[in-house]
Symmetry: D2
Subunit: 255 residues, 4 copies
């Protein structure tokens, strides 16, 4: 070791005979005994989740894994078409669309709810929600998690995730506030919007005690599985060439 | 729909009331009922795995999730230091190191074993292995999955993964050939190398019937969880600044 | 063409005999006649720059191309070590560090100056600067482009770029305001900070009439050249393995 | 400095008063005096090009900068749609398509020509070309740089780049062999294919003495400028939403 250098980590270390991860013996204690979602939770939160937490957490990941031909899925397929030798490049290209507009809602919603709760001084959720919606409207800001371009009445994921959280005893303040927003916002906004799936996932992840600044990371992990599915399908039954040609052949020059 | 355009998919589709994934109702049939690793397998393979397959598959993902301060982990941390506003960029930067040298071994080993098996005309695994090692040596090629820079005697993941495959009735021809290579290679190479963890994971994934051209994808999915752990730790207890300064302050100009 | 589909572009189109770019014949009018920096300016701004604008613009790109062992350069080298088969991945990994902290200053400074100018109602630059610094201080915000961790007295790029802009008749309101900030900030902040190179580049790009929302893009283009230089040097005289081992060997487990 | 650590570089270094790049004083010697393309050449090759070399090199970059709605351009636009807050992510996503199929031809062609020349023992270019085409055909390999999906008769870039190389005294063995392949291949392949623009760029870069393993890097640098143009146009006149909807609305479920 160079004098004075020290890089601390609580994650993986190894020596000639063993591999350690999170302070556990990887081979003896983790492989075959810990699920993949469970490990992902543990890696980020620094604590092992209980089975109910794993169920809710994996339900979130399943909900976010794939939404069909999103811009990110198309970008990954086009990149795989261009550079089939580099699967990691296609996956990375898809994940790079996980920003403010598409995958970001999960994190934005979790953070919004956490911020509102941190500033609240009562447990009157409908009252807290009412003020939060009023303030957002006054500031001309959208409420993250409210509304959906396709599921205009109800996002089918929302009641299911709330039911799972309730069954597992994990229905906490973020989900409670999110539902309150769903009840009260029509009074202010004069129309009724659904609580969307990305938003309810953010609320559930926040209730699981995961750091709100990293919620987007779970959406990205979920999407990594979905993108692999997209790339696998592209390999079996390619469509990226058709997408490319559809765009290229309908190009028109306009200065 | 524009006339004549059609983009088929067996993955996600949705309408106003429902979201479908893999032909299932996402909210009613998948969320809370299917694990995340199970879904990832299903998305890529196009078939739902049974519980034993899920256990073996998740053991592989757990084995590959994090190996400490690898180049990919360091690259992700440095990118997060530079651009903390873009978590997706830090994750993507880490995954882009999943190429031929580090994460590629899993895929290379699975493909090597599959190729050898496809060309074999007997079920004498030791004999097949002997010829494969002889041919590789004559062509001055390495055998993927053989040898490890740190675990010079034995990689602790290897016997554990083989035991799990055996318990679940999933010990198939790729693992069998891999073990045969472990037995016979000293006759040819004149030294004894361990069967490494990345290689045994490739053999197990191939025995699970997953497409060998996409095995790298599972290593990337596993690593996505590990990289989130690295980024979460970087956020709590940053070291990327120290890494950067260690390099920068020890820079010397040499034309 | 599918009925009704139309994708307009003013950039590249082609048919069997010719390739058109920006409304010009690529082969006959551009190749050998237009410089690369000139083309980059034209592609983004939608107008051909004059020779003085090209000189200032390329001076900015040269100033931003490489700053030695930055986090982005190290990330690119580590990614090349891990995946040498995918040069595009190493380059992309390096560029992904071009976010808010390192390469973002150029854009942040240009936008800050543009916003201040848009709100100003006089041409008293020192007065405008004074109010802008006061407001930033009251809001506890940093002034982008002010201060540098290494060049504590003066960033050598700043006076040179201002001199080039002046020589070419391109010293405009953004550079003027930037210099005014350099003069007046000690009155408010009670210490004298240098105007840094990334900031003066942002001011110059804004004076060139380039869109302030895309200034980061020029820093990225410049850095793409620098990263290629880093990767080329890594190929000739590798150090990424040493960086990796320096970190890995000095890892210590701390929960 | 930690004892024993040393990271040599011939690129950028700096101290409190000066910034050095390639052994030059960045502010005094490079800014305003060296063009951007010239610097990019210097960074990779480690030597300063002369004006004729700069002209040929920049003609290559101009030729490769943008080819309209390629998969990489579409991927960059879709990523910008999804994550407009992260310009670096959109640029990186576009570059990640710079792999074996699209941008890779430049490097593949340069390397192919260099390999053939390294094995040749005469200066009879037509004879060397004839054997190379025969061998490629026997091995069922394509000749990189031969043929184009759109420019079936002639790629307009090819004669222009050869003319520039000739004017600048830079018409060397790689371009000579490439032209010889253009003359002789119909004898073997029984049809006449054009020498394409990506290929002639690879030949010209190799004649400039640039390392053939890194030629893809120049295609990526050129494309970085083109992708910035695409992203700038997307910002002014967006089409990525239409592309996304065209695909999504024409999705059909097929298991």
């Amino acid at each position: 070791m160079a004098e004075g250098l020290k890089f601390p980590t609580g994650l993986g270390t190894s020596d000639a005979d063993s591999i350690s991860l999170l302070g556990q013996d990887l081979a003896a204690d983790l492989m075959g005994k810990v699920g993949f979602g469970e490990l992902a939770f543990w890696l980020v939160a620094g604590r092992r989740p209980n089975p109910g937490e794993v169920r809710l957490f994996e339900a979130v990941l399943v909900a976010l894994a794939d939404h069909g031909f999103t811009p990110t899925a198309i970008a990954a397929r086009l990149t795989y078409l261009s550079a089939p030798d580099s699967l990691q490049g296609a996956l990375a290209a898809g994940l790079l669309g996980g920003g403010s507009r598409f995958l970001g809602v999960t994190e934005d919603c979790g953070r919004f709810l956490a911020d509102v709760l941190a500033a609240a001084d009562s447990d009157d959720y409908d009252g807290i929600a009412l003020r939060a919606v009023e303030e957002a409207r006054a500031a001309k800001r959208f409420i993250p998690g409210l509304g959906h371009p396709v599921h205009k009445e109800q996002d089918p994921r929302t009641p299911v995730l709330i039911a799972i959280a309730t069954e597992e005893g994990l229905y906490g303040p973020h989900l409670r506030l999110f539902e309150a927003i769903g009840r009260v916002h029509p009074q202010i906004l004069r129309r009724t919007l659904p609580l969307n799936g990305a938003g309810v996932c953010g609320a559930a992840l926040a209730d699981l005690g995961l750091p709100v600044d990293l919620l987007r990371g779970f959406a990205l992990l979920a999407r990594a599985a979905g993108l692999l599915g997209q790339i696998a399908e592209e390999r079996r039954r390619p469509i990226a060439g058709d997408i490319y040609r559809t765009v290229d052949r309908n190009a028109v020059y306009e200065p």
